[in-house]
């Protein structure tokens, strides 16, 4: 393992110290509970938005805390969900009287811990909590025989759009319904060229030969469903876009936000090569791209690879997407 760390056990707490020092205008950090707060939280009368999950996906979620997006992000250990105590503390802290929405990615541990936290917050402080679980990964078969689809790229787009709605002062139920709608209209698929190395494990989670790629990966180094010979970007784009387009299904004339996300170890030049290919496929399918996002937003440590997310949008979603946002990881109009 070759990493810029001190002790694997200290990676998360030291990174949180770095975040606090690097972004004092955006956030404050509760180091004991490992929570990144919007600097001015709680906001009176505004629905509190909380997300969180394992660390190692930076800038998600701590990088999305700030005006226009999240009120708090709970950081777990690397690839391990946070614990109910953290989420409880965050829930109580950001409740400005309008209730709190938990944005949870569909992984067994995240769902269980957030469920326990919501039960405890309601019982202890009477906080009204609703939850939305993102599950946009088309690589996973959604059936009785799986834990359901993973929450991946749509989570970023959802946090932005729902963050804008909460900022407008909409009530909790409306914000939660919007979150459910965004999740339902988004689909994603990812691929890896290399594995990542979890610091505590010290070695790559899986091995890929020089001429192989893994298609349908998640964001935790969990291997994908298929291992294929390495192909040119054009073919990889088709492998990702086709199943996404077919799944909703997206129709000719649909308008989308197109999101090409890097897994942490792929340079932007390659992500733009991918975006070029994705865009040609969408043009050919008659899909209009209303807005786009290209970069490393929901990563998997230093894994090389990318994911493609499409979110079907209407005028209202585009307007909320364009609304000002001011966070360490996403910023415009502010």
């Amino acid at each position: 393992m070759k990493k810029l760390i001190n002790d694997p056990a200290d990676v998360v707490s030291e990174a949180l110290r770095g975040i606090a020092l690097a972004h004092p205008d955006h956030v404050r950090v509760d180091h004991e509970n490992r929570i990144v707060y919007r600097k001015d939280a709680p906001r009176s009368g505004k629905v509190g938005l909380i997300s969180g999950g394992g660390s190692g996906h930076e800038p998600m979620h701590g990088g999305f805390v700030g005006p226009g997006m999240l009120d708090a992000a709970c950081a777990g250990e690397v690839f391990t969900s946070p614990v109910p105590e953290q989420m409880m503390a965050a829930t109580k802290e950001v409740d400005g009287g309008a209730g709190v929405l938990h944005i949870v990615k569909n992984y067994t541990g995240d769902v269980m811990n957030f469920e326990m936290a919501a039960e405890l917050a309601a019982a202890e402080a009477g906080t009204e909590v609703l939850s939305v679980v993102t599950d946009d990964d088309v690589a996973v078969q959604d059936s009785l025989y799986t834990a359901g689809r993973r929450g991946v790229g749509v989570t970023v787009l959802l946090e932005k759009i729902v963050g804008a709605a909460a900022e407008e002062g909409r009530p909790l139920r409306e914000v939660a319904d919007l979150a459910t709608k965004v999740n339902a209209q988004g689909r994603s698929m990812g691929m890896a060229l290399t594995s990542c190395t979890v610091p505590a494990a010290g070695k790559p989670t899986f091995e890929l030969a020089e001429n192989e790629m893994e298609v349908g990966i998640g964001i935790h180094g969990e291997p994908g469903r298929q291992r294929l010979p390495l192909a040119p970007a054009k073919d990889v784009a088709a492998l990702l876009v086709d199943p996404v387009l077919q799944d909703l299904p997206y129709q000719q004339g649909d308008s989308v936000i197109a999101f090409v996300n890097g897994m942490g170890g792929t340079p932007l030049i390659e992500l733009y090569v991918m975006y070029n290919e994705v865009r040609q496929l969408l043009d050919a399918a008659g899909i209009t791209v209303a807005r786009s996002l290209v970069g490393n937003y929901i990563t998997s440590l230093e894994m090389a690879g990318c994911s493609v997310t499409l979110l079907k949008v209407d005028d209202e979603l585009v307007r909320l997407w364009d609304a000002p946002v001011n966070t360490p990881g996403l910023r415009w109009g502010a």
Binding site: G54, G76, E77, V78, F79, T80, S81, P82, V83, P84, E85, Y107, T108, G109, M112, N113, M116, A139, V140, Q141, L144, Y145, T146, A147, R150, V198, A200, A201, T205, F206, G218, H220, G221, E222, P223, R225
Partner: protein, 206 residues
């Protein structure tokens, strides 16, 4: 059988999980996200720290505290699952004399907590594939007149068999389920840590 015995069990289990942390993580790398060993190790080191600084009056108090500690330190799925197990296991032993029969009932209550959180069935390739045969073997041993230790030994042996039988299964719960057929051929990390837990109990209790 009292507080000290259960504390010894938790200490023995913490040591066992520490020694097996790399092994559990390796199993988890194959079908999960490579953190089961480090998570269990971190959680049980925290339990040992609690044992070092607190004196417990009763078995249920001790076990409930262990459960709360796991919930608040482990995260992932293992935290709520093992945490809930110890919470309910402890609660069931409140105010009752520890015997082969009462521990059997408490084990069943603890595993009921795991099922309430995880909603797993036999064959899903989870820790329940070790727990289910372990509970049956335990009850059978008690019905046959076995004492606590004998019942725990029987439970640990059945758990080990259940653990081994997870190898060919296709996972239907947790992150391993994302792999579909590719999860087959790998031993389940949760069933493995459950077996370690019961083997440790058989060594130290009764």
């Amino acid at each position: 059988m009292g507080v000290d015995d259960f504390a010894n069990w938790l200490r023995d289990l913490a040591g066992t999980l520490h020694d097996n942390a790399a092994y559990l993580t390796e199993l988890d790398s194959a079908i999960g996200d490579a953190d089961h060993g480090s998570n269990m190790d971190r959680g049980f080191q925290a339990v040992v720290a609690v044992l070092d600084e607190t004196t417990f009056e009763s078995v249920d108090e001790l076990l409930k505290k262990a459960g709360m500690t796991l919930v608040s330190k482990v995260g992932g799925a293992s935290g709520p699952l093992y945490g809930t197990f110890f919470l309910r296991f402890g609660t069931a032993l409140a105010g009752v004399e520890v015997s082969a029969a009462t521990v059997g009932e408490a084990l069943r209550a603890g595993v009921g907590g795991i099922l309430a959180r995880g909603k797993a069935e036999v064959g899903d390739k989870t820790m329940y594939d070790a727990w289910a045969p372990a509970l049956s073997a335990y009850d059978e041993a008690v019905a046959g007149g076995s004492d606590l230790r004998g019942a725990l030994v029987a439970a640990a042996e059945a758990a080990a068999k259940g653990r081994d039988e997870t190898v060919p299964l296709i996972a239907r719960k947790g992150r391993a389920s994302y792999l579909g057929e590719r999860s087959s051929g790998h031993q389940d990390p949760g069933a493995t840590s459950t077996t370690l837990l019961l083997e440790s109990a058989a060594r130290t209790l009764g």
